[in-house]
């Protein structure tokens, strides 16, 4: 047994860092796209890094995965066909498939190795990979959305890494146009949108690009996420067709599955943007 050491990730854009006390490296693979490492921590379960950036820990990933899926799925009137771009750890897929009305959930991550590592080190997140409604693709998400049948998808979830490297193309007008085209008229796009404290400019830029692509209503929902810069994160929902963001509150309240962070009340609570965020995002 070696002495635990501290692993830090320095975030150049925010000027802050987050670290974990790790006991040993469990695994490492260099895929065609990126380097994936798994560490064992003293308090957070297993930790996945991609190119040195913390992706998730066993202990706190439920915050992100629940908030990337349930608010959008309970805002849509009856989501049947969901596409997840990225999301290779399968945690978002698992949450999506908790909704009994979902008939088909496609997960398209460019890097199969992320899923293989998740199966090995985060098996609980892969619980639903064998669900008959699930389809796991390992392909380019940008191309997948571009070639998607028009008006065929209810919800697109963009569960990607930061807008650098492989994920850069998931944050611009061209990609959002593909999503807009693939979505039905009452469709919803939801994307992880970084820290509402430190990266408001990025959220603003995303919303602008989404607007150029034809989306006409936006909602940013903050939530805690200790493993990402500042520990405070967000997802941003975009709608087409002039629809708002009232959600199926009674369905959320009466859902037959368990969640740890998400509830009708925390969903409603997340809609209360702090004044400084609301002001920066223009109301």
């Amino acid at each position: 047994m070696t002495e635990p050491t501290w692993h830090y990730e320095n975030f150049d854009t925010t000027g802050s860092a987050i670290g974990y006390r790790v006991t040993r490296k469990l695994d490492e693979v260099q895929s065609d796209f990126q380097k994936i490492e798994i560490f064992e921590t003293t308090d957070w379960g297993n930790l996945m890094l991609i190119d040195g950036a913390v992706m998730l820990t066993t202990r706190d990933n439920f915050l992100y995965h629940e908030m990337m899926s349930h608010p959008a799925l309970f805002t849509h009137a009856a989501p049947k066909h969901v596409v997840i771009i990225g999301g290779g750890d399968c945690g978002t897929l698992r949450e999506v498939l908790k909704h009994p009305g979902v008939e088909r959930a496609v997960q398209c991550d460019i890097d199969e190795q992320v899923t293989r590592m998740a199966e090995k080190w985060f098996p609980e997140l892969c619980d639903s990979n064998d669900d008959a409604r699930a389809q796991l693709l390992f392909d380019d998400g940008i191309a997948y959305m571009k070639n998607c049948e028009a008006g065929s998808v209810d919800v697109v979830i963009v569960d990607s890494t930061d807008p650098v490297g492989p994920a850069e193309g998931l944050f611009n007008k061209a990609f959002y146009e593909s999503c807009h085209r693939a979505l039905k008229d009452d469709g919803i796009l939801v994307q992880q949108s970084e820290s509402p404290l430190a990266l408001l400019d990025l959220i603003r830029a995303m919303r602008t690009e989404m607007g150029k692509a034809g989306f006409d209503a936006f909602q940013t929902l903050p939530f805690p996420q200790p493993c990402y810069p500042t520990g405070w994160w967000s997802c941003t929902l975009a709608r087409k067709g002039g629809r708002g963001f009232e959600f199926r509150e009674s369905d959320a309240r009466g859902k037959a599955f368990e969640t740890k962070y998400y509830s009708a009340d925390t969903h409603r609570g997340a809609q209360a943007l702090p004044p400084f965020v609301a002001q920066a995002l223009g109301g």
Copy 2:
């Protein structure tokens, strides 16, 4: 100009760390109680450390100070006399004095050097130190509450460091009994209560001790706070006399002063405890 370096704080109890990119040390003093250091950061303004622990940064302290004051003050029907135990940086005092109904606000921090350093390096937090309603004491907060006239205080705010070292005595039944005695029948005690993700046991223990001291209703409100462990923090309110936590929502909505994080909506939102927190705290 020296190269920026990274300053990390390792949290042994949570097994996680938070860091800042710092450009230089601006000041340092060894007081009778602790070592206070001020660093300049690249992105977070000035940073205060006490015995190596991050206390606040210029950029994100508004989250904590607003949430330590406004929820309690808008929950009380008409707070006139407020006591702040700790709070030497004066940020909570400033928020308290934004309430025009407050007639007297006593801040009792054991360490005058914290306030001197705040005046020098966080002058904006000390804006209200000369307010005629403010009284700054540098004394033992435990003794102050013990000797406080019974039934004289509307709100006690315990704005302290972690329950180790000088602040240890602010987290037990004896101290809470003093607070209970000093408060009027409709009084409110509010205390910073650490991370709702990593330190739920501590919040539970606090509520138990508060209960033993006679408080009969509790409310824990989570909020983001990037500079503290996990980036997710909380305050816990305790009431006497069987009163609940409905707040003066229309007053909060119509308040004549500005806040960046607090609003009637974020107050309401914070009341929606995530299921795993509600469950751990027993409802």
